[in-house]
């Protein structure tokens, strides 16, 4: 095969379409985790919450026949799991990384267990109805745009708007100021009569809400089925994106897009380059390896919130 031909067959508009399609779930999870981390809490359970979100969405969609109710249920379940994490991490002041790990294991176990209980076969749910795709007539005539953004999931719009909304909330509203203050120096908030614990709770719940939606997107929009290994590290990649993007909306969004692109590329390479030339396992491992390379090699020490991962202690002697 001609080298140029190969390159051409890789970098196509459908790769761009796939990038957007794949990054949506990472954007939801990453934006959610960014909110959480801005308040000074590090929630490593995102992967698990996404998994439960995906599971819940598919199950509820299966039994009600409505993916919309599934989406709602996924968000609710996300918030409930977030509540458990918040209680352990904020109220009990447990080590946040370990609490996050526990949430991850718990969700892997719970989704696997309930899947067996409900459907009693294999690692998959039955096929379910998906959320609608949006097709705009006016876009049909705009080259590139029509190929990349048309016929994407309805969830693309909130995903693309979220970074902008969060930028405004973070830097232009009082709540954003309080959120950032909770992550920088919670005691400064406490002495002006705002409870940093409440703010951190809200931030964790908001983060889990979006992680739940990000997970739901996978099972009721990107595909139409839940499978046990469906999230496959996307939650961890979202965590990396938050670090990579310096816990700022634009940066995190760009990082999520980049990781989405890596994943799309990986899929494309698998199809374009036959297995006998190059093992597909290499491509499958690529996103993880690249993420680590980026975390380790290209970033300066990030300047995230000063009080990240520290439990808030009231004044003590």
């Amino acid at each position: 095969m001609d080298f140029l031909e190969v390159i051409k067959s890789i970098f196509t508009l459908s790769l761009a379409y796939a990038t957007v399609r794949i990054c949506i779930s990472i954007v939801f999870a990453g934006m959610g985790e960014m909110i959480t981390e801005r308040s000074g809490v590090f929630n490593m359970g995102v992967e698990g919450i996404m998994l439960m979100g995906a599971f819940t969405a598919a199950v509820v969609a299966h039994f009600t026949g409505s993916p919309w109710i599934g989406l709602l249920a996924a968000a609710v379940v996300g918030v409930l799991i977030g509540l458990i994490f918040a209680f352990v991490a904020i109220t009990v002041k447990a080590n946040q990384a370990i609490a996050g790990l526990a949430i991850y294991l718990l969700c892997v176990g719970l989704s696997g267990y309930l899947l067996q209980v409900l459907f009693a076969h294999g690692g998959n749910s039955p096929k379910v109805e998906t959320l609608p795709k949006i097709h705009f007539g006016f876009m049909e005539h705009i080259p590139v745009i029509k190929d990349v953004f048309n016929d994407q999931s309805v969830l693309m719009f909130p995903a693309l708007l979220l970074p902008i909304i969060l930028y405004i909330v973070f830097y232009k509203t009082p709540w954003g100021t309080w959120l950032r203050a909770a992550g920088e120096n919670p005691k400064a908030l406490a002495v002006v009569g705002k409870n940093p614990i409440t703010i951190r709770y809200i931030a964790v719940l908001a983060g889990s809400f979006f992680a739940g939606i990000g997970g739901a997107y996978l099972s009721i929009s990107q595909t139409s089925i839940f499978s046990e290994k469906m999230v496959n590290g996307r939650g961890f990649i979202a965590l990396a994106a938050v670090i990579f993007g310096n816990v700022k909306p634009a940066g995190v969004f760009a990082a999520c897009m980049f990781f989405g692109f890596m994943d799309a590329l990986q899929f494309t390479l698998q199809t374009v380059i036959p297995d006998q030339y190059f093992p597909r396992e290499v491509f499958m491992a690529l996103p993880y390896i690249l993420t680590l390379l980026i975390l380790g090699g290209f970033i300066k020490r990030s300047s995230g919130p000063a009080d990240i991962s520290n439990p808030y202690e009231k004044e003590s002697r």
């Binding site: 009082p174 100021t177 309080w178 920088e184 406490a190 002495v191 002006v192 000063a306 004044e315």
Partner: protein, 509 residues
């Protein structure tokens, strides 16, 4: 005169410690009322209760002669109370105005911050009380003295009538303290009431109208300033006649032991110059004090002297032997002992027990270790000895250090480092947070070592401590040693001015 604040029968217990024991205090409107007492006398606890950060186990609080319940800081704010904490509650990454307004930001269209209003209002209050603060500077860029004024602004913005200042001069130079007192008097003239917490008797006598003395969680007495004196207050405060003593002059000053020549270093993060041609020598039998405001290179200097800070240039020698490029362990083994600035962070492993802490840093030295194996018998017998000799109060040597009092924790460090250091002791903030008895103990121990012929380098943010112990005093400013003088040939005011870089512009009168 009207009473603005009255606290009646306040009792607060932490575990086994009775921090406040049936405390009664009455503060008259428009006065400057001081509360004095040693560290641990319960002053700060009482004020935190008043501000709603703690809840009293029993007792009542009256504001303007009406009983109130202060369950959190917002209740305190509503009742017109403002508190300026000893450790500022500011967010370095935000601007002055954002800090001042935090939690009560002016809004436009209900949802959005009104940045113009934010800066404008801050500017206006700053002007009104002539605080000379720029609303748009980042807090991380301004000095300690100005940060304190930001805290005062915060309280004024929230319409506080009663301002509590907790140890406000602890980190200020004499000049900055002067300014603070001017601001306080201005506030008083404006009808505000000031509650001033301190253990520095001199300034209490300078500024207060009335003084309440606390000891061991109880109020000992409340007196009018005009009826009392420093000596009388000290006696009330400690229960006996003690003021920290000035150390006797050095007996015999010998050869140069520790010598630093042209030490220069840069910060890791921004490559800012943190040490600039620092040179000094410390001789056997003397204490060289290094005075300076926090953040002027003291931390880096100590780290350089024990091999933790990379030098861009310069030479360190011990008894004439070049030790500049040795590793930490080798430097320490060469004969330098260090009492670090934060005992909980650098000095101790608080989750280790007492005996494990008594050989931290010596875990590969005889007699504690042979061929890489620990000799727990040797460790224990050494620990027993140190506990006995330094009067470390612990139930046994396998008691976790985190459960000991600050004074006893510090004694473990002092014991270990003195045991360890044949030549030189570097003491950084050696009495931070200790009560008078423990402070006295540490001071005595340092002077004892001096008189045994060791070289003692003392770094302290407390100018008072530097003046008490030093033979000679060096002033560090922005990473440079600006002057080295004999203790007898200088005054606190001169040193304070040098600590500020030689010039200081007082706030407009």
């Amino acid at each position: 005169m009207a009473t603005i604040l009255e606290m009646r029968g306040i009792t607060k217990r932490f575990g086994d410690v009775l921090a406040n024991d049936r405390v009664n205090i009455k503060v008259e409107k428009g006065t400057i009322h001081s509360i004095v007492g040693e560290n641990g006398a319960g002053k700060t606890t009482l004020m935190n209760i008043c501000y709603g950060l703690y809840h009293a186990d029993s007792g009542e609080i009256f504001i303007n002669e009406e009983e109130v319940e202060i369950k959190d800081p917002s209740a305190a704010i509503k009742n017109g109370i403002g508190m300026i904490h000893q450790h500022f509650k500011l967010i370095p990454a935000m601007t002055v105005a954002e800090n001042v307004m935090l939690g009560n930001e002016p809004r436009k269209n209900r949802f959005f911050l009104d940045i113009d209003e934010l800066n404008g209002q801050t500017h206006q209050i700053s002007e009104q009380y002539r605080l000379a603060v720029d609303p748009e500077s980042l807090v991380e860029d301004i000095s300690v003295g100005i940060r304190q004024r930001v805290e005062i602004l915060k309280a004024l913005y929230r319409k506080a009538n009663l301002l509590i200042l907790d140890e406000p001069t602890a980190l200020l130079t004499p000049q900055e303290s002067e300014d603070l007192f001017r601001i306080i008097n201005r506030l008083k003239a404006d009808g505000k009431t000031i509650l001033f917490i301190s253990h520095k008797l001199k300034e209490i006598m300078q500024i207060s109208d009335r003084v309440t003395v606390m000891r061991d969680g109880k109020v000992v007495d409340t007196v009018e300033k005009k009826d009392t004196s420093e000596v009388k207050l000290a006696r009330l405060m400690v229960g006996r006649d003690v003021l920290l003593k000035t150390a006797p002059p050095s007996k015999k000053i010998g050869e140069v032991i520790l010598k630093a020549e042209n030490l220069s270093a840069e910060s890791e993060l921004h490559h800012r110059q943190v040490l600039n041609n620092v040179s000094f020598e410390v001789r056997s039998g003397e204490v060289l004090g290094i005075a300076g405001i926090d953040g002027n290179g003291q931390t880096e200097l100590v780290r350089a002297l024990i091999g933790l800070q990379k030098l861009t240039k310069g030479k360190i020698s011990l008894r004439g032997k070049d030790i500049t490029h040795l590793h930490v362990k080798e430097m320490r083994d060469a004969g330098i002992g260090v009492i670090p600035e934060d005992r909980l962070v650098e000095g101790l492993v608080v989750n280790f027990d007492v005996q494990e802490n008594t050989f931290l840093g010596l875990q590969r030295n005889k007699p504690f270790s042979k061929n890489g194996l620990l000799d727990w018998k040797a460790v224990a017998s050494n620990a027993e000895q140190l506990v006995e000799k330094f009067d470390i109060r612990t139930p046994n040597i396998t008691h976790p250090v985190r459960l000991l009092s600050g004074g006893n924790q510090q004694k473990i460090i002092v014991a270990r480092e003195i045991f360890h250091a044949p030549d030189t002791i570097i003491a950084t903030q050696p009495t931070r947070g200790l009560d008078i008895a423990a402070t006295d103990f540490v001071h005595d121990e340092l002077i004892k070592q001096r008189d045994l012929g060791k070289a003692v380098l003392l770094l302290s943010l407390s100018l008072e401590e530097i003046m008490l112990l030093s033979t000679r005093i060096a002033v560090i400013y922005k990473g440079e040693i600006v002057s080295i003088v004999n203790k007898d040939e200088t005054t606190a005011e001169d040193l304070g001015l040098m600590m500020l870089g030689g010039t200081y512009e007082h706030i407009p009168a």
